[in-house]
């Protein structure tokens, strides 16, 4: 990953760190890197160096790796900013403090170079910013539930049950009608009058009037 290549801040490092291959490793000391970090946050050079030195002074002197030291210094700064709402007695507004701090941190730190040692000093500067709009912290409001409305029913004629019911009714009627017509046809043939009459009667009884199952119609037809 490429390193952030901001201009190196003015001021001298209080640490001596080993140099490595300039193609591979950032030769800057941790103090220089963190000074640039603060400069990118909008803190002016002198204050940025002061902050870097303050954070550096809190580290274990035995830790000499500049990359590791940089990480530790930035972690320490993050801890400081995370704890800011509690320190300032604004824990209830922690999100808002974090948001306002994120937007105005450079300016606040410039106004209060002692902020790292004495974070309480920021309280007076933060308070008006917290009350002031615009801000982007989403309000914490009582939640309501929006329930799905019932879909509502289709009219009977558009429901599947209607058609399956109708189908159940139509099948026997259709079958008996078919049988009746067949019977009528046979009746037209000489010598088959009796069979035709029986078929017609059985068709009407089983399918059309009594509403018997299709099996009865089939049986009756088979009987022919």
């Amino acid at each position: 990953m490429a390193r952030p290549d901001a201009p190196v801040a003015e001021g001298k490092s209080s640490e001596a760190e080993p140099h490595a291959d300039p193609q591979q490793v950032d030769p800057r000391s941790a103090i220089e890197r963190v000074t640039v970090y603060f400069a990118q946050l909008g803190v002016n050079g002198e204050t940025a160096l002061r902050f870097a030195n303050t954070l550096g002074a809190r580290l274990d002197p035995d830790e000499t790796d500049p990359a590791r030291r940089t990480t530790m210094m930035l972690e320490a700064f993050d801890r400081w900013s995370d704890e800011l709402p509690s320190v300032l007695g604004m824990k209830a507004q922690a999100d808002r403090v974090a948001f306002v701090a994120a937007m105005h941190l450079g300016r606040l730190l410039n106004q209060h170079p002692e902020a790292l040692e004495q974070p309480e000093a920021l309280a007076d500067a933060l308070r008006p910013l917290l009350d002031e709009r615009p801000h982007g912290v989403l309000p914490n409001l009582p939640r309501q539930e929006m329930h799905r409305q019932p879909l509502g029913e289709l009219p009977a004629v558009l429901q599947g049950e209607f058609w399956s019911g109708t189908y159940r009714w139509v099948v026997p009627v259709g079958a008996s009608t078919k049988r009746m017509l067949r019977g009528h046809k046979k009746a037209l043939l000489p010598g088959d009058e009796v069979a035709a009459a029986e078929g017609a009667a059985s068709g009407v009884t089983s399918g059309g009037v009594s509403g018997g199952p299709p099996v009865a119609v089939e049986g009756s037809a088979a009987g022919e």
């Binding site: 990953m1 490429a2 390193r3 952030p4 490793v25 950032d26 890197r33 963190v34 970090y37 603060f38 990118q40 946050l41 909008g42 500049p66 990359a67 590791r68 940089t70 990480t71 930035l74 972690e75 993050d78 900013s81 999100d95 808002r96 974090a98 948001f99 701090a101 994120a102 937007m103 941190l105 450079g106 002031e132 709009r133 615009p134 801000h135 982007g136 912290v137 989403l138 309000p139 914490n140 409001l141 009582p142 939640r143 309501q144 539930e145 929006m146 329930h147 799905r148 409305q149 019932p150 879909l151 509502g152 029913e153 289709l154 009219p155 558009l158």
Partner: protein, 674 residues
């Protein structure tokens, strides 16, 4: 109990009577054409043809009579007055007494330069009216592209900075959902559940919406004055586009939209409709009654309702609240697609959404007027396959009839009645446009705003010509969309293309070669099988055959601009740009400058390396309070990001890291330590 006004009831009755009567007469006449005077040609094809004609004529007739009602209403009111621009119709109350209103801008992978320019223009326009404290502004992001997400945050930080520097007292909130459940309707629903309790009204916008502050304040006053208004819709006017096609749409909406909106608004009265944006909604009834039902079955016809607006209007209406169209208000703007292809893509989404409404048209419990709105939404897409089927059946009727007739004046049936019917249908389509042009010419200031007397007429002629030319293409597109939807092929809801990129010949050929080939084949078949129909079919065939050059021509911004220099297709917003659109233009320059200032660096590199932006992103994330769930192995993704860089990860991994404060801090520290 809400009561429809006697005027609206009379209009509804008149509309119904006129539509049914004219359809009856046309169907009767068409029966003579297809069945013959003695009914000798009755067969399944001609019966189907007749049925299709009747349905389609009904559809055309309702549009015609709606416009006629609009015309009569406009003439009745004040023929010489500018009909619109009626803000502050009553005394406005002081801002502190105005009900709290949230202005909601739901976005989904949109161009953040344009989105935030719209937000800024609306805020400044409200500020100009002195009503800033009454409104809070929410940008509701459903963005899934992590780079766009970070661009949105960049613009948010910039606009907050800008207003803080100016001392402008306004709340601008940004909320991003990790999962865009139920798309736009889910986005609004989520807002209602989390923040709705603090507001009486919400003004819903689209990503390309701009609304005048005066219009917004007037809307709130109107809704506050009547407790039973559930939704107050101001029809949006498309603006800001320059391509030939977009300028045609803008002109059509500006000239013809008024007469249709007035007619529609009059007969719908308190049973109006909601178009999904540029509308004021009463929050609590919306929460209580407008949770969208789930449709049975699978997508595309089942599942989540996609086109939520019509259904929400139906639900709030069912709950006893009014849905009103404020057709007398202007200052409501949107942007339209600039090319035929973009237009078709948008229609594809809308088509699938509207086809889902078929089930709801017949569902018990909805008001009849809501069913009509839902049915009209379905019919606006279904009409295309019906027209196509009508033409194909007409061809079949001739072919099956076996009359190889080379006389174009006697394809089938009595010629005179056929020609008369054709003329009647064309007139019913064109006369409302004629009304609208007359109404423009009647008002000198409106006429000047449309380019002048001659230009207003020429503009309408150009628009009608283009409409006729692209109608067959749209018919084919819509038919494809309807068939795809019915076959169960879902549409991906991508972000809408909102910039003006002209279509090149390659793209046009890729998109329209099928239409051209189809048109040529159809022309050959008709010439061979039914030569008597060839001339009748020619307008449709030409539209398809020339679709490639037409698509290129219509997408051209230079042609659009050239027409503007001739004051053709001019709309009032181009003649004299309203203040809110001027504010939008200025805001666009600012938001573009913000984007340009960070353009050298990938947004994901920036969030990793830039301490200020990293902190801002984390603060925005913390304020959102939405738990993030993902199956991504964050530790592995973090390791990979440290080696290869965040921009080179998969999208899911990028989102997982950007949503995890600890991982992002680690990445940030590593970037500074290396």
């Amino acid at each position: 109990m809400l009561r429809t006004s006697s005027g609206a009831l009379f209009s509804r009755f008149s509309l119904l009577l006129a539509t049914v009567a004219s359809t009856y007469l046309a169907a009767y006449a068409f029966g003579h054409v297809v069945f013959g005077d003695d009914g000798k040609d009755v067969n399944p094809i001609t019966v189907l043809l007749w049925l299709l004609f009747t349905v389609l004529f009904l559809w055309v007739a309702q549009g015609f009579w709606t416009a006629t009602i609009g015309l009569l209403q406009m003439l009745r009111r004040s023929p010489n007055a500018v009909f619109k621009v009626k803000v502050e119709t009553s005394d406005w109350m002081p801002p502190e007494d105005l009900p709290r209103t949230a202005v909601l801008m739901p976005i989904y992978n949109e161009d953040s330069v344009r989105v935030f320019a719209g937000v800024e223009a609306i805020i400044r326009s409200i500020e100009a009216r002195g009503y800033t404290p009454a409104f809070d502004h929410y940008i509701l992001s459903d963005t899934t592209d992590p780079a766009v997400w970070l661009e949105e945050e960049t613009q948010l930080a910039a606009i907050l900075d800008q207003f803080a520097d100016e001392g402008l007292d306004v709340n601008i909130y940004y909320r991003r959902r990790h999962k865009n459940k139920a798309r736009k309707s889910g986005n609004i629903e989520d807002w209602c559940e989390r923040f709705g309790s603090a507001y009486t009204f919400m003004l819903t916008l689209d990503a390309d919406s701009v609304m005048d502050g005066g219009t917004i304040v007037e809307m709130v006053h109107r809704a506050a004055a009547q407790d039973d208004i559930g939704i107050l819709q101001v029809p949006p006017q498309p603006v800001n586009r320059n391509s030939f096609f977009a300028r045609c749409q803008q002109y059509a909406a500006s000239v013809y939209g008024e007469v249709f909106n007035v007619g529609f608004g009059h007969w719908t009265h308190l049973d109006g409709n909601y178009y999904g944006h540029n509308a004021l909604i009463r929050v609590q009834p919306f929460i209580d009654h407008c949770g969208l039902p789930l449709l049975p079955g699978k997508a595309p016809l089942g599942g989540e309702i996609l086109s939520h607006d019509f259904v929400e209007a139906a639900l709030i209406r069912k709950a006893g609240y009014k849905v009103t169209i404020a057709f007398d208000l202007d200052g409501s703007y949107e942007e339209c697609p600039t090319t035929l292809v973009d237009y078709a893509i948008r229609d594809q989404r809308w088509c699938q959404g509207n086809m889902q409404h078929i089930r709801l048209v017949f569902t018990r419990g909805y008001k009849w007027m809501s069913r009509i709105h839902l049915g009209m939404g379905v019919m606006s897409y279904l009409a295309s396959p019906l027209w196509l089927a009508f033409m194909l059946l007409g061809l079949m009727a001739v072919v099956v009839g076996g009359e190889v007739n080379y006389d174009p004046f006697a394809p089938f049936g009595p010629f005179l009645i056929g020609v008369t019917l054709f003329t009647v249908v064309m007139l019913m389509l064109l006369v409302p446009k004629f009304y609208a042009v007359c109404l423009v010419l009647q008002r000198p200031d409106v006429m000047r705003a449309h380019g002048g007397e001659l230009q207003a007429v020429l503009g309408a002629i150009i628009e009608v010509g283009i409409s006729i030319l692209i109608a067959p293409l749209m018919m084919v597109y819509h038919t494809t969309f309807v068939i795809n939807t019915l076959l169960g092929r879902s549409v991906k809801w991508n972000a809408q293309q909102r910039d003006e990129a002209a279509v090149g010949w390659d793209d046009a050929a890729r998109n329209h070669w099928k239409h051209t080939v189809g048109g040529l084949v159809a022309a050959g078949l008709i010439a061979w099988l039914a030569p008597s129909l060839f001339l009748w079919a020619l307008p449709v065939l030409i539209g398809l055959i020339v679709s490639i050059p037409v698509s290129v021509l219509l997408s051209s911004v230079s042609v659009g601009n050239w027409l503007r220099t001739k004051r053709l297709l001019m709309i009032p917003e181009e003649h004299d740009k309203p203040k809110v659109l001027r504010l939008h233009q200025t805001a666009l320059r600012r938001t573009q400058a913000v984007a340009d200032a960070v353009a050298d660096e990938h947004p994901m590199d920036r969030v990793v390396r830039d301490p200020a932006f990293n902190r801002f992103h984390l603060a925005t994330l913390a304020s959102n309070h939405e738990p993030f769930e993902s199956t991504v192995n964050v530790a592995a993704a973090l390791e990979q990001a440290q080696e290869a860089g965040l921009p080179n990860l998969e999208r899911a991994e990028q989102i997982a890291l950007l949503s995890n404060p600890h991982a992002l801090r680690r990445l940030h520290h590593t970037a500074w330590a290396q």
